[in-house]
Point group: none
Chain length 193, copies 4
DNA sequence: TATGAATGAGACTTCATTCAT
DNA sequence: GATGAATGAAGTCTCATTCAT
């Protein structure tokens, strides 16, 4: 499997660095190849085309979020705590890899419609886990039973996303992690039973 | 003043249509000129360059939001109602001009860092009006006095934005306007005193 | 006759200024019109096209040289003195109108082959007057009777031209007029009987 | 080193042909590429931009002159003979490559101020060799000891340049080489001790 | 597997000229 | 005669992808 070979990860990581440092539109395949210490042509032994690199970046990195949330979901804690851990997880991963934050919040959004639709496919998996948390909360009557799950999910994800984007736009000047309790409280207040 | 001449508006409107129908990266100047029924060169009598067209699209259209919210802000109604009217306004404008919705929620976000930075400058005006509503609500104790205005604004804007983007991504299949009471309720529940 | 109307001269003079200040390739018709205080379209009432302006600039200004040399030619002085007066005249006119010097020595040479051929047609009249001086000198045996007139004319004109170009390229730092006795002596030494 | 690769010379030579045949302003990169039998993009692997091609043409070709004159300068012959060889060399190179003559005497002079400034930098090396010959002649008292070297150089170069330009303008109808003894005689007569 | 030289399509912008007023 | 808004043709350069080695 190509994904397990060292050069595959090498190229993915190089792509994150190059995009973060140069911006989406200045992230040429040749720059990524150079950063990854491979020849331009080698890229095409591991990826179908440039778009494939970008989707793979998103898929590989999003897997971290998904795996963590999967674990959270299975824990024996109440909905409020699950939500807190999820927000915490989301903030922590991006707080720790600031290049990744730049890439997901700013740069990859410059991609064209088709690529963003495919990125959204990947995102949906994450959002469905969030849906699962919310549904479980409603079932267990820990959240307001008249809550519209789709709207609630849009509020939760929209708030998290906007908070992180603001942080990135402000050059990551403050500690993102510190915001999670307040964000959690605000969201829970809106959704709780 | 160039902005008052009919061709200026003609080109702006053509740009919205062309970008919505073809996507940001396929919106060539020549296509916009054709849609506006002017020669390519005429574009440059009204706009400095292509980027200037795009910023102007955003500025001109965002002015509608800002003007409306300004009026709402001055009305003698309580904070909850102001917020409802603001959400309503935001949803209505984009519900009525679906091309504009595609352009603001999807296409213009593909622009490069510099252009998005300039778009953000325009956006800030709108966000500061939202801030004013929230601050007033706190002062009048209609909102939770311990509310962090920045976080609250990020929640409100993030939720609205995410809701509209979801609607656009789902091909605007449902009536966006119908969502505003529920969105409003959810947000107010989180913020009220 | 158009050439006698004030706007004709106004445009010619504006062209010299605009070309000297902006360079040949930055001397747009609209700039010349602005400098001449006329509308763009007015230019075309006096000149067939842009090339026609440039040739006219050269023709009108070259007429000054030709007229002066014509007078010199008719004077009752010896060949050496005629040559000195001619060099003096050439240097003086350009020394006094430095914009004109920039235009003739540097900028107009950037024009395309066809324009330069037409400029050369104008120049030929001047060179034929120089030829006349040289031929007369040979006939009167004041110059070496075995002198090849064409070569001698190329030496005289080439030396004058190169001297002026050097002066322009050195930002007209020194007084061009002071060079004429030395240039004259050098040339005469090569050609005298 | 890029300059040693065959495609580099291939493109330079193609540029001379295309400029000579089409004129400076009609020498599009795509034409040069076609003449050189490479793709348009390949040009940019060897040259920074179009201007870089043109400067390189001048630099590469001027090197022939400079190298030859350097050899002449070191020979154990008198100043008069050195000057003759130099004129001979200059005439011969351009007589043998008539396209090059068109390019250096007519076409490259149409370039913009900046390009011509850079071309002049290259030219200065050649002129300083000429200066060296003249200075040596004065020191050895083979030339007039009161000779102004700058003026003399301007006369020599101006005469050579004007002679060649005349020859090119007359469609290279006669044999340029045959003119060198006469040109040399004329110049030496003016400068000799 | 890996390389990297070569390819070639594609678009923004300028500016001389026109013509309705 | 005078205006100036409108026109539209035309060229440089970038960069994702290929393929011979």
């Amino acid at each position: 499997m190509k994904r397990d070979k060292p050069k595959y990860k090498q190229i993915i990581d190089a792509a994150v660095i190059v995009i973060a440092e140069n911006g989406y539109h200045q992230a040429q395949v040749s720059k990524i190849a150079k950063e990854a210490n491979v020849a331009d042509g080698t890229i095409y032994l591991y990826f179908k085309n440039k778009e494939d690199i970008l989707i793979s970046v998103f898929r590989e990195k999003m897997a971290i979020f998904v795996d963590n949330v999967q674990i959270i979901l299975n824990q024996d804690i109440d909905t409020s705590e699950k939500l807190l851990k999820m927000i915490d997880n989301h903030f922590r991963v991006l707080n720790e890899d600031r290049n990744l934050a730049i890439v997901t919040q700013l740069e990859l959004r410059q991609s064209n419609k088709e690529l963003r639709f495919r990125i959204n496919e990947v995102l949906k998996e994450y959002l469905s886990l969030l849906d699962a948390i919310l549904k479980e909360g409603i079932d267990k009557e820990e959240l307001n039973i008249s809550l519209d799950v789709r709207l609630a999910r849009q509020m939760v994800f929209g708030t998290i996303d906007e908070t992180i984007t603001s942080w990135v736009m402000n050059d990551q000047k403050y500690d993102l992690m510190k915001l999670s309790p307040e964000v959690h409280k605000l969201l829970m207040k809106g959704m709780k039973a």
